[in-house]
């Protein structure tokens, strides 16, 4: 439970960082001053989300023991029908033992109310749709790159909410760090020198 609260807090901090950085970017007069405001969005926010992932997933090696509960499954006796998953409700992915879990959390400890998880997932989906719309509708190139960076963050949060921490890390590092830097540098290069 504490893990959930802490990771939620970290995610909120990440969102606030990106929002503040976006505000700074919108206010600053020229591209290089704006570039300074990209850093918190590109670095601090990913660090917060990374920390949230580790708080949720845990750093210890003992998670592997969870697999002992199910026991080894011999290949020969394994029926293909067993592998077919039960149809799930929207948020029941949180209950299925689909991925490694921190050892400190028992069967009931990780349970998040289904409605809360549903809400979180819907909010993440709506946020990504809104972010994508903002990216497409932004006319200024520099602002578009920054909107893209924020969109990358939203996408990372979406992946995290849908329990794909590996993809979250990839999206964070590429969508929020690598892509905006390359795009901003390219824009700075092709921009005419302001005399």
């Amino acid at each position: 439970m504490i893990r959930e609260v802490v990771s939620d807090g970290l995610l909120a901090l990440a969102v606030l960082t990106v929002a503040a950085a976006a505000l700074g970017v919108a206010v600053m007069p020229d591209a290089y001053a704006r570039l300074h405001y990209v850093t918190p969005a590109a670095v601090v926010a990913p660090v917060f989300v990374t920390l949230a992932i580790f708080v949720t997933e845990g750093l210890d090696h003992r998670r592997a023991r969870l697999y002992d509960r199910h026991g080894p499954v011999p290949v020969a006796r394994h029926d293909a029908r067993d592998a077919r998953p039960r149809p799930r409700r929207l948020a029941s992915a949180t209950r299925a033992p689909a991925g490694p879990r921190p050892a400190g959390e028992g069967e009931g400890a990780t349970m998040i109310p289904v409605a809360a998880m549903d809400t979180l997932q819907i909010v993440a989906l709506v946020g990504v749709a809104a972010g994508a719309t903002v990216v497409v509708r932004t006319r200024s190139r520099v602002r578009q790159v920054l909107a893209l960076s924020v969109y990358g963050m939203l996408l990372a949060i979406l992946f995290f909410v849908f329990q794909a921490p590996d993809v979250t890390l990839s999206e964070l590092s590429v969508g929020a760090v690598a892509l905006p830097i390359v795009l901003l540098l390219a824009i700075a290069k092709v921009r005419k020198p302001e005399q």
């Binding site: 660090v47 697999y67 394994h78 592998a83 077919r84 799930r88 590996d166 890390l169 590092s173 290069k189």
Partner: protein, 256 residues
């Protein structure tokens, strides 16, 4: 084609697209309902077979390791292509990076970094590099991997630039060294696979002992090693890419 015809053409095409899209959508499995047996099988077997608790890494670097080789060389080829396209041409000479030499009015397109910018950026360099290494070396135990770790490691170098130290960035990441590290990373991955062939095993077969405890850092055999090589390859590639772009932006190149 008149605008009217074009509009009708668009409307017909859009209607067809919407129809096909809805038809395809109706045939999708329910939300969260994964119908393929492969994923379930991997979840059952992966930890036992590879002793890697990061099952995604086990898939990336073991079961589908060959795909990852291809992906890695996409990045390798991209970085190489960028270096070729942005190379210094003959009859081009470089001038000093504007702004760094110390505020020549008029020529300075890059303002010097403020202290408020410089101090946090420099403070973040160490932790960022640590997180990068940690991610790259813990693919077998945690949701992480060489790719993510490599990009974050590269962003530690980019932080050095953001703190206003372009020249330090360049000193710390000479292109020759980056090329060598990138080649070692890409080559190391391939070499791990070829070593398996030399032992009469399938390419990229996990021939190292998987370790006693699933989920220990030293477990999972070649998965950890491949993740490490991917990490340094990706880090070098991204620093190289960022460095090339920075040079293009900061160093004014004029044909003499």
């Amino acid at each position: 084609m008149t605008p009217g015809q074009r509009r009708w053409f668009f409307l017909a095409a859009a209607a067809g697209l919407v129809a096909c899209y809805l038809w395809a959508f109706a045939g999708l499995p329910g939300f969260g309902n994964y119908p393929g047996p492969y994923g379930q099988e991997v979840l059952r077997q992966a930890v036992r077979q590879t002793h890697a608790t990061g099952v995604v890494s086990a898939v990336n670097f073991e079961y589908r390791g060959f795909d990852t080789v291809g992906e890695e060389f996409i990045l390798f080829a991209a970085a190489a292509g960028l270096s070729v396209v942005l190379r210094r041409l003959r009859r081009e000479r470089e001038t000093e990076p504007a702004g760094e030499a110390g505020g020549e009015a008029g020529s300075g397109t890059v303002p010097a970094a403020s202290s408020a910018m410089r101090v946090p950026a420099l403070l973040m360099v160490g932790p960022t590099a640590l997180i990068g290494w940690w991610l790259a070396s813990h693919a077998q135990t945690n949701p992480s991997g060489g790719f993510q770790g490599g990009v974050i490691l590269a962003s530690a170098f980019i932080l050095i630039y953001l703190s206003g130290e372009f020249l330090a960035f360049r000193r710390l990441s000479p292109v020759v060294l980056l090329d060598a590290v990138e080649a070692v990373g890409a080559g190391g991955f391939v070499a791990i696979g070829l070593a398996a062939l030399a032992m009469n095993l399938p390419y990229l077969d996990n021939y190292l002992p998987p370790g006693q405890v699933p989920g220990a850092v030293s477990s999972s055999g070649t998965i950890a090693l491949i993740s490490f090589f991917v990490g340094i390859e990706v880090a070098a590639a991204f620093v190289l890419i960022a460095g090339e772009f920075l040079e293009q932006t900061l160093l004014k190149r004029r044909s003499a």
